[in-house]
Subunit: 231 residues, 4 copies
């Protein structure tokens, strides 16, 4: 069942340690089959060494396990909320990558300082608020998803144009049209976070890049007038 | 004698350079067999290349060498004091890992800024005071253990909940239910220290994470209501 | 056609990920055959894994594709402007390497703080201004080249003596007598940028190196009185 | 001639890139045979890939080439001055390692913040002054050695107890009883420099470690009462 998707989600998960985004098991990737309405996600707390496609857990969008014997990632309800709200999402990633998490702990949006950022994220990368005591003590992981959605909605952010977010005092979520692209965006976000840290060290009053530079670079790679790459 | 434990302690020691926690021989791991009351520890100043299980030194809790021909790590008396005081400890690690040692040199506790920290350490990671001239010129390594204990006791810190500490102007000690977990905690502490450094660079007035977030994450992974992982 | 140059440009491109200068496809290297007036450059958005010499694109200096089926790097017009203006350039590199790009985002020249810098760059490494809205919405990549040239000319910088430049809010361009040397200079510029960042963290009022030290080191390696190396 | 020493000096040179201390050819190691009064040093500007023991250059203490066809490192006169002044030195290293060079560019001594430092360096690591215009335009490399000696003498520093120094706006020199130990000290100095940078970021008013802690750690590893290691 969903053998191809399980293999893809496995490979996307294995990319996380290979790219230096996670320590031990601190991350998870999922992918969705929109036709069947089924999500494939990494099992909880399982080591990346020797993980197999058959270890991936298959769930429906209500979180019922449809296949697999292992517990799904404890962050599963966050993934599900994002899939339910945004039909364009095909893959979701959660990590505690060093620089991005440092911005999350600092409680700040990552300012759009340059084209590296603008090639992938159409604007500052938002930092969602901390959850309240009630949200945390209730359905914590589900509420994390709801707070991400609240932040994107309130700020009128199109998640396809800004494929990632920080959650204050916690970590980072990214997404994409599939699991692979979601991981790609997690790698980019970490690099952009690192550069933004250094940028402010070098010039604490650094200006954001102008909007027209953002537009140019984003649309060079995205949308119908894109001319980057081979398509 | 204690062949299995020696092999485990060897492997835990070898994990230190593999995880980037040490330069040359600047670290040591021990493990204890509580039934026999015997501690297995790395020999002093021996290179990690080609180290064998049979090089591990076996000692009783008074520091008498029971097996092995090499000198035990010069930090052995610190390990012994921790084992004697806290019966739950099964492994102890000492390193000079870069970020954690920088906090120790800065003489500051590592603030609990986020869930990465709270998943493993239930509160700030304390920085014990520098030893006095008398403590240093006396039984230095033993006194290091006593100052660690003094700090944990004075602050009413449960070492099972906060499995590591900094020692001012020196380095870091971590522990766990066995040598493996102690090393795991040393890796986490280093990563948490690095993130805390960046967090303050990004926002010098960053707030600590709220207590209810700490509680949620810590108890998600520890204690009878834990639901992270496969158990 | 130009098989040797294509192989050299391929190898120079592959050096970028090997030296840690790029993430994914964020960089490109070109080389020129001055006799034939033809430029060889990496194709756009193509992964470094499995890239072959035959994937390289051959263009004339007006940007007409002379050989190859892939689209050339989207930054090609920048390379062409530099080749047309400066006949001594044999290779050009563009990257978003972490520290250099952080200086570009900070909008600052990299001060000449020491001999590591002076061994390769005869003076501060300039940061060119951001392009205007009109320049960006027009022939963006060509205008990037023109702004680089404008900066070098206005400041009376000899590009053979200062083989690299930052472009504000964007990234870094370097060059050399061939593709290899251009990559070499990109590696040096990144290291120099990193050191300059740390230098200012350690001493925010650090002084630049004196001119006579710059002269000594630069001319030790360059020009007719050079005595470094085996020539 | 001196085959064993040439092999040792080669291996010590190869350790520099392996330990991440150098980029390209930015470093050199020498060793001395005190009985014969001959120094073996790396050739100038030669790549580390494929370097052979037979490429090493043999010189007398006046700098006359006794064996070898390649030019010796351009920094050779600095090495020679150090060997002539201090009979205890058996190996000398020069690098531009990132953190140490950043302190040199910042023009500051590296404060003794902790035991990692005190295990190898008995006090702050001095930063020698920049050379004057005359010193630079004269016998530059020899004068670099003389300024290092001037600094050690003026501050009454025993080079056996403080086996390394920064040179302002330039880089770092270390030494030891042989080429191996000199490289070991270069690795330590770089790590200590990195930790000191972070220490001040975490606490800009960090205190130096007390003298009695320095004494304890230094003499634990050095001198007749040393008890670290297996001797």
């Amino acid at each position: 069942m969903l053998e191809e998707l399980k293999e893809k989600v496995l490979q996307a998960n294995l990319e996380l340690p290979k790219r230096g985004l996670i320590t031990y098991t601190w991350g998870n990737v999922s992918g969705i089959d929109r036709e069947k309405g089924l999500v494939v996600i990494k099992p909880s707390g399982v080591s990346y060494d020797g993980m197999k496609a058959s270890d991936m857990v298959v769930l429906d969008l209500d979180g019922n396990r449809v296949e697999g014997t292992l517990n799904p990632s404890s962050d599963t309800p966050t993934h599900l909320e994002l899939y339910k709200k945004y039909p364009d999402l095909g893959g979701v990633v959660h990590t505690h990558s060093t620089s991005a998490t440092s911005w999350a702990q600092a409680g700040r949006d990552i300012p759009l300082y340059g084209t590296t950022h603008a090639d992938y994220f159409f604007g500052d990368i938002p930092c969602a608020r901390s959850l309240t005591k009630e949200e945390i003590e209730g359905e914590y992981e589900r509420n994390t998803g709801l707070v991400i959605i609240e932040t994107l909605e309130e700020r009128d952010v199109n998640p396809v144009y800004t494929p990632g977010i920080l959650v204050k005092n916690h970590g980072v979520f990214t997404w994409g049209k599939d699991a692979d692209e979601a991981v790609h965006n997690a790698v980019v976000l970490e690099e952009v976070a690192k550069m933004a840290t250094f940028t402010e060290m070098i010039n604490k009053d650094a200006d954001k890049a102008p909007d027209y530079l953002r537009d140019k670079h984003f649309y060079r790679k995205h949308g119908e007038n894109a001319y980057y790459g081979q398509n």
